[in-house]
Amino acid sequence: MRHSLRRDITIGAIAITALVLLPLVWPSKALIDFVIRGASLGLFATSLNLLIGYGGMVSFGHGLFFGLGAYSFGLLMQRTGMPIPAAFVLTIVVNAAVALAIGAICVRLKEIYFAFLTLAFQMFLYSLIILWVPLTGGDQGLRGGIPRPTFLGIDLADQKQLYIASCVLLVIGLMLMRHIVASPFGYTLRMIRDNAIRAAFLGINVFRIKLVAFVLAGIFGGIGGVIMSLFVSGAYPEFAYWTVSGEGVFIIMLGGLSTFLGPMVGAVILLLLNDVVTRFTEYYGLTLGAIILLFALGLRRGLTDFLLDYWRQFRAARAPMQRS
C-alpha cells in the first residue's frame, strides 16, 4: 500500500475538526475527560507499538517514558515557571536523552532479555521517584498542582481548551508516527523485525536503527505523560509503575499490532471497559483478565487485526465471483 503524505494530512485535519466539534454536538464533561485520557493513553500505546509491532522489540518498561514525561514537565513547570511550550520542548529533550542512554544498553539484547532490562530501568525510575522526596514528593507525588500559565492566548487550566490542545497533540503525534512507519526508516525497521541477520547482510546497521526507534518511541510515550500531567495537574509515582507498561501491552493486545491505529482503538476499548466495569463490579482486575483471555484465546489477535483478516478473507471470497 502506498502512503501519501497529502492524504494523511487531510485525514488529520478532518480528525482534529471532528474532535473539536464533538463537545458542541454532545456537551458532556465526562466526554471531555474521556477524550483527554484517550489522547494520553493512545499516544503512549501507539508509541509502544513502534517498538512491538514494527520493531519486534517487546518492551515491558515503556511506562518509564510516560512517567518521565509527566514528572519532567510537572517539575519544570513547578520549579522554573517557564512558559508551557518551552517546558514541553525541554521534556522531549529529556525523554530523548534518557531513551538514548537506556536504549544504547537495551536494544542489543534479544527478546526476553530486552523485555526484562527495560522493566528493570523502569523500576529504577520508580524507586528514584519514591526515594527522592525533596524533588519528587515521594509517594505523595507532585502536589500543589502544576501551574498552567496562559500562552498565546491559550489557557490550559480551562478544561475545554485543554481538550482542544490534547486533541491537536494526539492527531499531530499520530500523524508523525504514521509518517515514521511509512518512511524508508519504517520499512528498514520492519526488515529487522522479520529477519535481522539478513538485514545486516544487506548492510543495515541494526543497532542504530533499533536505537533510533527506541528514542522516537520514548519521545512520543513522554508526550502521553505530559497530557496526563496536565489533565490531573500533577504527577504520581503510579505513572512510572510497571503496571503502566503492562497496560500498554494490554492495549496493544486488545486493539491489534499490525494496523497503525490498532493501539488507538485498544486505548479507547480499555478506557470504556474501565468506566463500565468499575460501575458494576469491584472485581475490576478479574473482569479485565477474563476479557483479555477472550481476545487471546477467542480472536487470537487484537480487534483491528481480526477485522482486517476478516475483511481480506471476505474480499478474497468475493473476487472469484466478480470475475465469473
Binding site: D194, A200, F201, N205
Partner: protein, 250 residues
C-alpha cells in the same frame, strides 16, 4: 579472480575445511559438489565472512577478505543466497527489494521521505525482472511458492551488485521440473550479468549440464577440480562420490 589459498577451519578439533586451495576464474560458472559434510557450506560461510577462517586466505582480485566483517565483504563484491531462503515474510516482493536497494545505497535510516524512495524503484524493478519475479511484485514474501522464495533470496543478493555470487543449493527442496526452471534462471542470469557464479548442487545432471567448471570437496579437502568432462572421468571422484553410473555415460 576469487582464489582461496590454504584455507582451514575446524570446529572443536574436527576439521571442516583443511588446507583448501581453489580458484574461481572471473566470469566462470562453477559448481561445488561433494558428499554431505564435505565442507561446502562451510566454505561459503568462510568466503562470505559468516565464519572466520583459522588459517589461509581468501583473495578477491588481490584483496584478502579474511578478517573483514560481513558488510565489508559485501562491499568488496561478494554476495550470497542461502540454503533456506532468508527473506522478510511480512513484506511484499517489491517492498523487500525497494527496502534492500535503499539499504544498499546507505539510505535505510531516512526519516524525512516516504517509502518507497523514487530513485530506488528502478533498480528494484530491474532485479525483479532479472529473476522473473515481477508478476509476484505485490505478493507477501511469506505467501510465495518455495521456488519464488529462493529466487527472492537470490534477488536480495543481486541488489548488492556483486562481482561474485555464491548460491548455496539453489534447487534444494524442489521437484525435478522446478529444479530445471530454477537452474535455467540462474544460467540466464550468469550469461547476462557476466559475474562469477559459484553454486553448491547435489543433482549431478544439473551440474554436468550447466557448470563450466567443477570443484569436488570430500572430508574438507579438494578431491578434484576441472571441467565437467575431466571430473566425469576422474577415478577418485568416481570412487568417492559419483559411483559407476556416470562413468558409462559418453
Amino acid at each position: 579472480m576469487l582464489s582461496i589459498e590454504r584455507l582451514s577451519k575446524s570446529f572443536e578439533g574436527i576439521a571442516a575445511i583443511s588446507d583448501v586451495t581453489l580458484d574461481f576464474p572471473t566470469g566462470s560458472l562453477t559448481a561445488v559438489i561433494g558428499p554431505n559434510g564435505a565442507g561446502k557450506t562451510t566454505l561459503f560461510n568462510l568466503i562470505s565472512g559468516a565464519l572466520r577462517a583459522d588459517a589461509g586466505c581468501v583473495m578477491l582480485d588481490g584483496t584478502d577478505l579474511v578478517g573483514l566483517s560481513r558488510t565489508e565483504i559485501v562491499r568488496c563484491g561478494i554476495a550470497r543466497a542461502f540454503q533456506v531462503a532468508s527473506i522478510f515474510p511480512s513484506l511484499t516482493v517489491e517492498e523487500t527489494l525497494n527496502a534492500a536497494v535503499q539499504a544498499h545505497r546507505g539510505r535505510a535510516a531516512v526519516l524525512g521521505q516516504r517509502f518507497p524512495l523514487a530513485d530506488c524503484g528502478e533498480r528494484a524493478r530491474e532485479v525483479m525482472d532479472m529473476l522473473s519475479l515481477s508478476k509476484e511484485a505485490d505478493t507477501l514474501s511469506a505467501k510465495l511458492s518455495h521456488g519464488d522464495q529462493k529466487l527472492l533470496d537470490i534477488a536480495l543478493a543481486l541488489v548488492l551488485q556483486p562481482r561474485v555470487l555464491l548460491l548455496d543449493e539453489p534447487t534444494a527442496g524442489m521437484g525435478t521440473e522446478e529444479r530445471w526452471q530454477m537452474i535455467e534462471k540462474v544460467y540466464r542470469l550468469w550469461e547476462r550479468e557476466k559475474m562469477t557464479v559459484v553454486f553448491i548442487e547435489h543433482d549431478m545432471d544439473i551440474v554436468f549440464k550447466i557448470a563450466n567448471s567443477i570443484r569436488v570437496l570430500c572430508y574438507g579437502r579438494v578431491l578434484a577440480e576441472g571441467t565437467p568432462d575431466q571430473i566425469r572421468c576422474n577415478a577418485d571422484v568416481i570412487a568417492a562420490y559419483l559411483g559407476t553410473e556416470h562413468e558409462v555415460e559418453p
